[in-house]
């Protein structure tokens, strides 16, 4: 495993997906396509909803009877992004593994307004950890609704490693980890080999 920051300016991957990958590779695969292919490979079911929560965006695919039924990608709103959660943990020096899931979350329809909920709550005496936990729960709820509020939801992306975020979903949640898109890329390599 090598971090992209350690790669030289002239590095070009043979096959890549993800943010900024297009200009650093010879062959680019659309992130949603990689997610769908990787999810299908790992989940192995005809019907599923898979939500990917990354640091810069969230996206989901829904398959019904083995075919794509619905999908979405939100890369604009800070109310749905993992980096907001990362920033908050650094700002308040919090460890998400130790924070209990709050009974209720903030309504985080907008990232900026959602953060003002945190500041207001802290000013009114709520412990910082609880205020942030409510925000995180609100973001999890946003993601759940974004994916169509399914009974069972598969989750991928870096936030699978955040216990508070994972426990905040109001449904049966199955985490797949952060490498589902890589599995999606592998399906391309397999298809290429089969073709040749």
């Amino acid at each position: 495993m090598v971090t992209t920051r350690s790669l030289g300016q002239n590095f070009r991957a043979d096959l890549a997906t993800g943010h900024n990958a297009r200009r650093r590779c010879r062959r680019y695969v659309n992130e949603l396509t990689a997610l769908a292919r990787g999810g299908r490979e790992l989940i192995g079911k005809d019907d599923f909803v898979l939500l990917d929560c990354g640091s810069r965006d969230i996206k989901y695919v829904r398959f019904a009877n083995g075919s794509l039924a619905d999908m979405g990608w939100n890369a604009e709103c800070g109310a749905s992004m993992g980096f907001t959660i990362e920033l908050l943990s650094r700002y308040y020096d919090l460890d998400y593994a130790t924070l209990p899931v709050p009974e209720q979350g903030f309504a985080v329809t907008c990232g900026v307004l959602g953060m003002s909920h945190i500041f207001d709550a802290v000013v009114n005496g709520m412990p910082e950890g609880e205020a942030v936990a409510r925000f995180v729960r609100g973001i999890a709820l946003n993601g759940y609704r974004f994916a169509g509020s399914p009974e069972t939801l598969y989750l991928s992306g870096g936030l699978c490693d955040n216990p508070l975020f994972v426990a905040s979903f109001p449904c049966n949640l199955i985490t797949l980890g952060r490498f589902v898109l890589l599995t999606g890329l592998q399906t391309y390599l397999t298809s290429d080999r089969e073709r040749t």
Binding site: N30, E31, L32, T33, A36, D57, V61, A64, S67, L68, A69, D70, M71, G72, W73, N74, A75, E76
Partner: protein
């Protein structure tokens, strides 16, 4: 508008917004007015210049209308504000009075259908939209064309940013208000709400447009759909969503 007023528009630049009634288009053509479609970008100016008159968070098509009106020397504007357009157009018609001495509001309830063969033919999608929108300024519909078997669907209004249309195959059928435009019945809600459930379809609306509600509703009803909204220009994620949807649904370009 009175006949003598129409006659005064001979050779003058007249803006139209939405799809004014056919009777009005005929009068303008008979008078020899030079019509320009204000829904489409007509000037190379920043859309942010409209911020003095409209909220920035507002329909990009109507912001484009105002931008055009600010910079074109228009003798008159005919803006449809009826059920074939939107309530926002009604409000914008007042703002347009700041830039043009004659702003005429119309309510198009034309119900005679002219057909929509362009929506169903095999043609580059951007050319298809250009053909349909160009015929808003004419009293005739586009020439009849043979229908093709659809592999993808595009439901909605002509987008502010036509570049997203290049992602679709030539065998994309067009639905929604664009189909109503070609049919010259912009207030026909039944035709607007029609879709083909066997064709993977992108349900598109301009961000901040009331039609987002209908687009989302119909996308929910369709078994293989993508709901999409987009503001002034298509972001990378908007293009990627379309690309992925067409590829994963098997509706993508084959050529």
């Amino acid at each position: 508008m009175q006949a003598e007023t129409m006659e005064s528009l001979a050779g003058k630049l007249v803006g139209i917004v939405g799809v004014p009634p056919l009777a009005v288009i005929r009068q303008l053509l008979a008078a020899g007015a030079e019509m320009v479609d204000l829904d489409e970008p007509q000037v190379r100016k920043s859309i942010d210049l409209t911020a003095s008159y409209l909220p920035r968070v507002y329909c990009a098509v109507l912001r484009t209308v105002v931008l055009n009106a600010m910079h074109l020397d228009l003798e008159a504007i005919f803006i449809d504000v009826g059920p074939g357009k939107c309530d926002c157009a009604l409000h914008v018609s007042r703002i347009l009075q700041r830039f043009c001495p004659k702003v005429v509001t119309t309510r198009n309830t034309d119900s005679t259908g002219f057909g929509y063969s362009t929506c169903r033919c095999r043609m580059d999608l951007a050319e298809k939209f250009a053909c349909i929108t160009a015929h808003v300024r004419k009293e005739t519909a586009p020439p009849p064309r043979p229908s093709c078997t659809p592999t993808a669907g595009f439901w909605g209004v002509p987008p502010r940013d036509f570049s997203i249309l290049s992602l679709f195959p030539e065998t994309t059928h067009v639905y929604g208000w664009t189909r109503c435009m070609e049919n010259k019945t912009p207030a026909d809600l039944d035709l607007e709400a029609h879709f083909n459930p066997s064709v993977p379809t992108v349900f598109f609306a301009q961000a901040f447009c009331a039609k987002t509600a209908l687009a989302r509703h119909l996308a929910d009803l369709h078994p293989c759909s993508l709901y999409l909204d987009c503001d002034v220009t298509a972001s990378g994620s908007v293009r990627a969503k379309i690309e992925a949807f067409l590829e994963l649904s098997g509706a993508g370009k084959t050529d």
